[in-house]
């Protein structure tokens, strides 16, 4: 289902950002960790967009050069 898919993405993203941002757990989420987590989500999505675009561009180039060049 859609909801399940959303939950899976959040679980995965939370795991990555937890590993990136969380040091020793304390009584409260401190502001530094909070910023790190928010930035982590945004940067991860930025990186994902960048890579998707680049991957599509490469795939298109490969198709266009299909006759003159081998894939290597």
């Amino acid at each position: 289902t859609e909801k399940q898919k959303f939950q899976n993405i959040i679980h995965e993203l939370n795991e990555k950002c937890w590993d990136t941002c969380m040091d020793k757990p304390s009584n409260k989420l401190d502001s530094r960790t909070e910023s790190c987590l928010k930035n982590c989500v945004s940067r991860f999505l930025d990186a994902n967009i960048l890579i998707t675009e680049r991957l599509e561009k490469k795939a298109t180039e490969m198709l266009n050069n299909h006759d003159s060049m081998s894939l290597e």
Partner: protein, 55 residues
């Protein structure tokens, strides 16, 4: 819920119990409780940040 339980156990065992002893001491228990609360805070925060970016 099952997924959250499994991830919290995995992450908080690693964070709180680096060399397992003969019992779960009170400081280990405290660490696990805090770790679990922070993991859920993090989950809520990540969930909110992701939803906001999608809009």
């Amino acid at each position: 819920m099952q997924e959250l339980l499994s991830k919290v156990t995995d992450k908080c065992f690693k964070k709180c119990i680096s060399s397992p002893g003969t019992s779960l001491g009170s400081s280990d228990q405290k660490c696990i409780a805090m770790c679990m609360d922070r993991y859920m805070d993090s989950f809520n925060l990540v969930s909110k940040a992701y939803s906001e970016r999608l809009r």
